[in-house]
């Protein structure tokens, strides 16, 4: 009888541990339906940029992100994306992928200011395909580059007014024709 109780206790412990492990499973931000999310810009990103080099890119954003509204602050617009915004940038193997070719990597921005790993209010992740594991970038590699989105830069409309655009180069409605890089 005593052995049976011990076995039951052990089984309960194992089950609890398994449940605990299951509960701690990391969330997946680039959900399977991300393909249906709208692109953040009409610009064809077929020009090289630091960080992604000569690789074609398609950025998409979930509906939460598209609900962002700029506010006026000291005469300038300021963009603060709502929490829960997810931007997934598909990165392809080459600058001119074939029709139907799948991306080789996803880079992901998630607006989660309360997350201790967030930088600038965003969690910066990468997802290798087809493995599917999303790994956060712990350094400042991503944000260093994306901080330039809040200043004048050579992409899209170039942010001529140096609005705070929450580290996002292409904010909704500010897309530029697909002309590649721009000098200023």
């Amino acid at each position: 009888m005593r052995t049976r109780h011990l076995a039951l206790l052990l089984a309960a412990g194992v089950a609890g541990l398994a449940a605990g492990c299951a509960a701690r499973r990391e969330p997946v931000y680039a959900t399977p339906d991300y393909h249906s999310w709208k692109r953040t810009t009409d610009v064809i990103l077929d020009y090289p940029i630091p960080g992604h080099q000569d690789r074609f890119r398609i950025p998409r954003m979930n509906a939460t992100g598209f609900s962002v509204k700029p506010v006026l602050e000291n005469g300038k617009r300021r963009w603060d994306f709502p929490e829960g915004t997810v931007i997934v940038k598909e990165v392809y193997a080459s600058m001119h992928p074939a029709a139907g070719e799948l991306p080789v990597q996803l880079t992901i921005m998630v607006k989660e200011p309360k997350d201790p790993d967030s930088q600038g209010g965003w969690i910066w992740l990468t997802r290798d395909l087809p493995g599917g594991k999303e790994t956060p970038f712990m350094g400042n590699y991503c944000i260093t580059c994306h901080a330039n989105a809040n200043e004048k830069h050579p992409y899209g409309d170039g942010n001529p007014q140096e609005e705070f655009r929450d580290y996002v180069y292409f904010v909704p409605g500010e897309g530029m024709p697909a002309t590649g890089t721009k000098e200023y």
Binding site: I49, P50, N148
Partner: protein, 487 residues
């Protein structure tokens, strides 16, 4: 009285040695763990602080380079680095291009920018192109994607032996989108800021602290081991050794030893208990001299009375009462004890059990299939005792009566005082036969003669009327050994 031999032990290991080893090991591990944690924490904290400081410096220098270079002020950037290096003798800052060559060392970058902008926006200082130097150590990790900030020790020699200890940090310079206008978009890392800080004094001070702490650790372990070991030896080990010694002496028949422990703790209680136990054992050992072997056997086994066949031997000194009137008590006791001692030796030597001494009489019981034979042999020897050594008996003689038959063997008496003895008709007959035996005579019953076998010579039979018996008894006079039998 034979005492049991103590159990043989193949090898006795010293408890003191075990305690000392355990003590030193526990102290070394316990305090050593604390010391190790202290040392690790010290080094880790220093590393952490230095890393944070270097990271902060790297970020500051990155902002400075970014700010100066965006406006195309490379000469100011050069001046900036020169001044920064001058302000701190302990810290050296260098800027490398992504190929590992020192920045601003030649006109390569200016030429590249002018070509890209298709202008001559930046003047060429006309510096000769230098050969490509060897990239700094670990440089590749800082320029491959994703670029990493590196933090590592880069010592020159051993700091404690006159060398220099450096902490070194690489802060990659990212080719920001705004930089791409001049420098192009074909690369992610523009270069690396290299910050090297001389931490030799800190490392030496730390080594001194850890070394001092290590020495203190050894001294502390030694002192604590000495104090605690001494305490344990005095309070636990010595009393245990004393108790062991006294117990060892008891196993060899020495009951005089006592444990001399005065403490009032559990050890003291144990010592008192052992002393009480040894005293009890001593008393019981002494008592065994006054108790028959059968009584001792009954104490070990069962005390239930049982009916058994035994040969009873009664001996008595003839004319002892009148003898006592002519001698002093000391003389009487001396002669009597000598005679009783010799009789006891004879009776016990033939396997008899001395049941009791009653004045000058001895009662012995012989058991076993050859009990009657051994009883007769003993009786013969007793009857010859005074004839062969008259001086020992001071002229006295001993009469002996023997009877064999069924008796009750058991504890007889009250709960406060009892004897483990025999009762029955054979006891009475043996006593009566002893009473009628003359000096140096042994009278046996028909049953005793029959069971004694052919090894003896009997004279008789005689018919005697015994007190308390209705009919006449057929008895025999035991006169000697049969021819060929040992005398």
């Amino acid at each position: 009285m034979l005492l049991p031999m103590p159990p043989q032990r193949s090898r006795v290991r010293s408890l003191t040695l075990k305690v000392d080893v355990l003590l030193i090991a526990a102290l070394a591990v316990g305090i050593g763990a604390i010391m190790a944690a202290f040392a690790v924490s010290l080094v880790s904290t220093r590393d952490q602080l230095t890393r944070q400081s270097l990271k902060r410096q790297g970020d500051d220098h990155f902002v400075a380079v970014e700010t100066l270079m965006i406006s195309g002020n490379a000469p100011q950037a050069v001046q900036y680095f020169t001044k920064v290096n001058l302000t701190s003798a302990a810290t050296t800052i260098r800027l490398y291009r992504r190929d590992g060559t020192p920045a601003f060392s030649d006109d390569t970058t200016i030429q590249h920018v002018n070509e890209r902008l298709r202008t001559s926006k930046f003047d060429l200082p006309d510096r000769p192109a230098r050969g490509v130097p060897q990239p700094p150590v670990h440089f590749e990790k800082a320029v491959t994607l994703p670029p990493e900030e590196l933090f590592f020790r880069d010592d020159e020699g051993v700091a404690l032996a006159g060398g220099t200890a450096y902490f070194r940090a690489y802060r990659p310079l990212i080719n920001l989108p705004k930089c791409t206008v001049c420098h192009g978009s074909d690369h992610t890392v523009r270069g690396v800021i290299d910050i090297r800080t001389d931490v030799t004094p800190a490392v030496r001070a730390q080594a001194l602290t850890i070394g001092g702490a290590g020495a203190a650790f050894i001294v502390m372990v030694a002192i604590l081991a000495l104090i605690i070991g001494s305490f344990l030896r005095r309070v636990v080990l010595r009393p245990v050794q004393l108790i062991g010694r006294v117990c060892g002496e008891v196993t060899t028949g020495n009951f005089r030893g006592r444990v001399d422990v005065q403490s009032n703790d559990e050890i003291g209680v144990l010592a008192t208990t052992v002393n009480t136990m040894v005293e009890g054992l001593r008393e019981r050992f002494e008592l065994t001299k006054y108790v028959s072997a059968s009584t001792l056997g009954a104490l070990k086994e069962s005390q239930e009375p049982r009916r058994v066949t035994r040969t009873l031997v009664f001996t008595d000194v003839r004319g002892f009462t009148s003898y006592t009137e002519r001698r002093t008590p000391e003389q009487v006791v001396s002669v009597l004890n000598r005679m009783l001692e010799k009789q006891s030796a004879i009776l016990q030597g033939h396997g008899g059990d001395i049941d009791k001494f009653v004045g000058d009489a001895v009662v012995a019981v012989f058991s076993g299939p050859d009990g009657a034979r051994r009883a007769c042999a003993a009786a013969l020897q007793v009857t010859r005792l005074c004839a062969e050594a008259p001086a020992d008996c001071d002229g006295l003689q001993i009469g002996v009566g023997l009877a064999t038959g069924s008796v009750i063997h058991g504890m007889i008496g009250s709960v406060r005082r009892a004897d483990f003895t025999v009762i029955g008709d054979s006891v009475n007959i043996a006593s009566r036969l002893c009473g009628i035996a003359r000096g140096n005579q042994a009278i046996v019953t028909d049953a005793t003669r029959a069971q004694a076998g052919a090894g003896f010579v009997f004279k008789g039979p005689y018919s005697v009327k015994l007190k308390g018996k209705s009919g006449a008894q057929r008895v025999w006079l035991l006169t000697g050994r049969a021819e060929g039998e040992p005398t």
